[in-house]
């Protein structure tokens, strides 16, 4: 199954469950509290997911390693390489 189909399946299942509870499609006579909670759930979950995404991306950007030492080391090695290669006869 492709990821798209997995998502569609998942969304459908959740959607059906939500519809059943919110609109009482099976006539289960659920208490009003269930309906009240279920009704805004989709929007609520989207908002939660949105906040989670922003927080996660923000955190990852903030903690993204800046490899200062790697850059310095590379610069030094570039010079070493150029000198050594010149000795070995490379014409650049």
């Amino acid at each position: 199954m492709t990821k798209l189909l997995e998502w569609l399946l998942g969304v459908s299942l959740v959607g059906v469950a939500w519809g059943l509870v919110t609109f009482d499609l099976l006539d289960l006579q659920l208490p009003a509290a269930y309906k009240e909670v279920a009704w805004p759930m989709p929007v609520y979950l989207l908002v939660v997911f949105g906040c989670y995404s922003l927080a996660t991306i923000g955190y990852r950007v903030a903690t993204f390693n800046d490899c200062e030492e790697a850059a310095k080391e590379l610069q030094a090695q570039i010079q070493e390489a150029k000198d050594d290669l010149k000795k070995k006869g490379l014409k650049m």
Binding site: R60, F64, C67, L74, I78, A81, L85
Partner: protein, 262 residues
């Protein structure tokens, strides 16, 4: 007094077998370096590769796949071949710029190693990580080892806030949609078993960043195991690197295609 040649031969074999590197090293690592206008960087990356492979004792070769660079990259490569030997520096140039996937296929055809290392030739990938890739591969018997900028002490140098934001944002979306089981999908510093790389390149149809992503996704589909090693990515020592709207759009297109088809 007189040891026979045969006995002497046996003695020599025993002494050589005792050296740890000679015992295991049926393994050979072929480094594929597709180049286009890398006249300045090529000698430096080769020097670093020779240094770190030399120190590690592993058997290796460097395959330079130049796509008809007008700046004389091939001539520099020929000089390097004279310095380091044509068993270590292998030249397999092509007439014109033909793309990365075909460069890999071309390189694999001429590779005599049983492992292939792919990396950028512009010094953004540092050969010092290659022994770590090899170690990781041996530890877990992985089919491929991927360098990651996003985990452990991996990271980048030379990226501004905008670039970091786009990178992390794109990676997040990719993780949510594809759940790929690897932290850095667009990275191109990897070690593959040769037959694994062959099979994957056959199956991949995308271009650019998405090509590297597709390789990982297909690897997972085929049940290959993936190990990760944190790497530092030093962006563009020479020249510029911009990530514009066009690239972002084509990335998203490619991502959605993978989402819908894999």
């Amino acid at each position: 007094v007189g040891t026979s040649n045969r006995e002497r031969g046996l003695q020599r074999t025993t002494i050589l077998d005792a050296h740890p590197r000679n015992r295991e090293e049926a393994d050979k690592y072929s480094v594929l370096l597709p180049t286009y206008n890398e006249r300045e960087n090529l000698p430096l990356i080769v020097w670093l590769l020779v240094k770190y492979f030399g120190e590690s004792g592993y058997n290796y070769e460097i395959i330079v796949i130049d796509d008809g660079s007008p700046d004389g990259t091939l001539q520099i490569a020929e000089q390097l071949q004279k310095i380091y030997g044509d068993d270590k520096i292998v030249l397999r140039p092509r007439a014109k710029k033909l793309g990365l996937g075909t460069a890999y296929i071309h390189g694999i055809k001429h590779a005599t190693g049983n492992f292939i290392i792919i990396m950028d030739a512009d010094l953004s990938h540092h050969p010092k990580f290659i022994p770590e890739f090899i170690k990781k591969q041996k530890e877990g018997g992985y089919d491929l080892v991927s360098g990651t900028r996003y985990r452990g002490d991996g990271g980048v140098y030379g990226w501004d806030l905008r670039r970091k934001l786009i990178s992390r944002g794109a990676n997040f979306v990719t993780q949510v949609l594809l759940r790929p089981g690897a932290s850095d999908l667009t990275g191109s510093f990897r070690l593959y078993k040769k037959d694994v790389l062959e099979r994957l390149v056959e199956r991949c149809v995308s271009k650019g960043y998405v090509f590297q992503m597709e390789m990982i996704v297909r690897a997972r589909q085929l049940g290959y195991t993936i190990g990760e090693v944190p790497i530092s990515f030093v962006d563009r020592v020479y020249g510029e690197s911009k990530l514009g709207g066009n690239e972002i759009v084509s990335f998203l297109k490619g991502l959605l295609t993978l989402f819908a088809t894999t």
